[in-house]
Amino acid sequence: MKRVYVNEEWCLGCHLCEYNCAFSNSGIKDMVKALKGKKITPRIHVEDDGKIHYAVSCRHCEDPLCIKGCISGALSKDENGVVAIDHDKCVGCLTCMLLCPYGSITTDENETVLKCELCMQNGGIPACVQGCPNRAIVFEEVEE
C-alpha cells in the first residue's frame, strides 16, 4: 500500500506539513480562514533538535498496536490498509496514545483523538506530501 514516508535527509524543519495537514483536515476552503488565530492540532508533527528534523505521522503499521489496544473499536484497518478512526466510537481513553511507539496519535483542544488517515477524505494525496517543499515527505509504495 502507499504510505507517507519521511526522508529525513531532505527535511528542512519548515513545519509546513503541519499547517497543510491542519488546513486539509479543517474542511474550510481558505487557509487563512481555517488557521488564522488558531492553535493547530495537525496529525503530523516535526521533531527537531536544531540540526536534525523530520516529520512523524501514523506509520499505518502492518500489525498496529493502537488497534489491539483500542477499548472502543474506534480504530480499525480499512480494506486499503489505512488505520482509520471512527469518532462516533472513540471515547477518548487514549490507550492508543499509550501504545503507539512513534507518538503519532494526538488530540485536539476538545480531546478528540486525531491521527493521520492519509487524507483519504481529502482527495487521496496527503496534504503534507503535496505541500512539502523539498520532497522530504513522500507518498509511495515501499517494499516490505
Binding site: Y5, R59, I71, G73, C93, M97, G103
Partner: protein, 412 residues
C-alpha cells in the same frame, strides 16, 4: 478440527481471528453466558456517561460470527472432561473439542457485608447489563455510594455523575487507584475528581448497612439511594481448576497461551502470565493484553506459531480531561531508580532497572507516551540514550537515524 471457546469477550473474538488466520476450515463454537455479541467491557461506563451508544460497543461487525463460521451457544460451561475432550453445559448439552480456549473473564468480588441484604438498589459494575440496570435505577436526585476507588469504581463514578444527584466513593485504601498510583499521584487524581464533583471517603469503608444507610468504619453515616459494589474482580477459573489445571490466582499460561492441560489454552482476564516488568507471572486483566493473548492462543490452537512474550500491565485512563497513563512495575523496593519531572503540566515518573525502563506513571502531559511503552515492552537498553531529554520531550530523536530510517522510511 473442532475449536471451542468458553466466553465471548475481546479475548474470545481475537482468538477467532487468530484461528482463522491459520485455519479456514475447522469449526468454531463459542459458549457464552451473556446474551450479547462480544462487547468492549470498558465501554460500560462510557455508555452511562453517554459517550458510547449501545450499538457502538460491540467488538466486531454484526456479521463477524457468520463470516467466520462461528457457532455461538448461549449457556454456561459447568465442567471440562479433559480425557474425552468434552465441555459440559448447564443445559446438559455436551460439546466436544479438539482445542479449547478459556476466555471466561472475571466476576465481581463481593465480600460478605452485614446488612447488605437490606439494601434495595445494589449493583456490581462489570457488564453492560449492569449499566442498563444502573441507567434505570439512577435519576437526578439519586445519591450514589460506590464502594471501591479502583478503576471500576472511579469509572462508574464518572459515568454516573451527570445522571445522579450526588456520587460518593469510599475505599478502605487511603488513596484512589491504589493498585496503580502512588500517594502523590493519587492525590492529584483525587483532587481533580473532587473538583469535578465526586465526594470521597477514603481509608474508610462501609462496615454494615441498614436499608439506604451505610454505617462507616469511622463511625460516620452515609445515606444513599443506589449502592455500587466495585471492590474488585476474581478471575473465573473454577471450571479449569476442577479439571485439574494449574492455577495460581488465575489460570497459568505460557507465552504461547497454553495451559498445563493438553490442547487447552486460555486468554484474557482469567489468565496469569509472565510480566516482563515484574519478572513473574501476574494477572494483567487489560484489554490490549486480552486482544493480543486471544489472538496468540488462536494462532497456536490452529497449528501456527505465535508468542506473546512482552506482556506488561498498562493503563490509560482519563477523567474529565485529566489523563493518567501507567505501565510496567514501579515497585518501591529500591531495585529500580526513579527519574521524575514535576511541573504545572503534571507528574512523570520513570523507573529504570538495569539500564532498562521497568515502569512509568504519567499524570497530565501524556503526549507520545507510547514511546515509553515501546521502550518498556522491548526492554530497550537505555545506556546509550539521552533518556533525560526523552522524558522532557518524548520523540524519536534519541533513537538515532537508523531507527528512524527503519520506522519512518520503511514498512513497520
Amino acid at each position: 478440527m473442532k475449536y471451542v471457546i468458553i466466553g465471548n469477550g475481546p479475548a474470545a473474538v481475537s482468538c477467532v481471528d487468530g484461528i482463522r488466520s491459520v485455519d479456514n476450515e475447522g469449526s468454531i463454537t463459542i459458549l457464552s453466558k451473556e446474551a450479547h455479541p462480544a462487547y468492549f467491557r470498558p465501554l460500560i461506563s462510557y455508555y452511562l456517561e453517554g459517550k458510547s451508544k449501545e450499538e457502538n460497543i460491540y467488538c466486531r461487525r454484526a456479521d463477524f460470527y457468520q463470516k467466520n463460521h462461528v457457532e455461538t451457544v448461549l449457556g454456561e460451561a459447568v465442567a471440562i472432561d479433559k480425557e474425552n475432550r468434552i465441555v459440559a453445559l448447564n443445559s446438559g448439552e455436551n460439546i466436544a473439542y479438539d482445542r479449547l480456549c478459556i476466555c471466561s473473564g472475571s466476576s465481581p468480588f463481593v465480600p460478605p457485608m452485614k446488612g447488605l441484604e437490606t439494601v434495595e438498589k445494589k449493583f456490581t459494575f462489570l457488564t453492560i447489563d449492569d449499566s442498563f440496570a444502573l441507567e434505570q435505577a439512577v435519576d437526578k436526585n439519586s445519591r450514589v455510594l460506590i464502594i471501591g476507588a479502583g478503576l471500576i469504581g472511579l469509572k462508574c463514578a464518572e459515568g454516573l455523575r451527570d445522571r445522579a444527584g450526588k456520587v460518593t466513593v469510599c475505599d478502605l485504601a487511603p488513596r484512589v487507584l491504589s493498585s496503580i498510583l502512588d500517594d502523590e499521584c493519587a492525590m492529584v487524581v483525587q483532587k481533580h475528581l473532587e473538583n469535578c464533583g465526586i465526594a470521597f471517603s477514603l481509608a474508610n469503608t462501609a462496615d454494615h448497612f441498614n436499608g439506604n444507610t451505610a454505617y462507616m468504619k469511622d463511625g460516620s453515616v452515609i445515606d444513599f439511594d443506589v449502592l455500587v459494589l466495585a471492590l474488585g474482580v476474581r478471575p473465573n477459573i473454577g471450571l479449569f481448576k476442577d479439571a485439574g489445571g494449574e492455577c495460581d490466582r488465575a489460570i497459568i499460561v505460557g507465552n504461547d497461551m497454553k495451559t498445563s492441560i493438553d490442547d487447552i489454552y486460555a486468554a484474557g482476564d482469567c489468565v496469569e502470565q509472565y510480566d516482563i516488568s515484574f519478572g513473574n507471572k501476574r494477572i494483567m486483566a487489560l484489554l490490549p493484553n486480552a486482544n493480543i493473548g486471544g489472538y496468540t492462543a488462536g494462532v497456536n490452537m490452529a497449528g501456527g506459531k505465535a508468542l506473546f512474550d512482552n506482556a506488561v500491565p498498562m493503563n490509560s485512563i482519563g477523567f474529565w480531561g485529566l489523563h493518567i497513563m501507567t505501565a510496567g512495575s514501579y515497585a518501591n523496593d529500591g531495585s529500580a531508580q526513579m527519574t521524575e519531572i514535576k511541573d504545572e503540566s503534571g507528574i512523570k515518573r520513570f523507573f529504570i532497572k538495569d539500564h532498562k525502563l521497568n515502569g512509568f506513571m504519567i499524570i497530565g502531559d501524556v503526549k507520545s507516551a507510547g514511546i515509553f511503552t515501546n521502550l518498556l515492552r522491548n526492554q530497550t537498553d537505555l545506556s546509550d540514550m539521552d533518556f533525560e531529554a526523552l522524558i522532557k520531550s518524548p520523540n524519536l530523536l534519541p533513537f538515532g537515524e537508523n531507527y528512524r530510517r527503519k520506522t519512518l522510511r520503511g514498512v513497520v
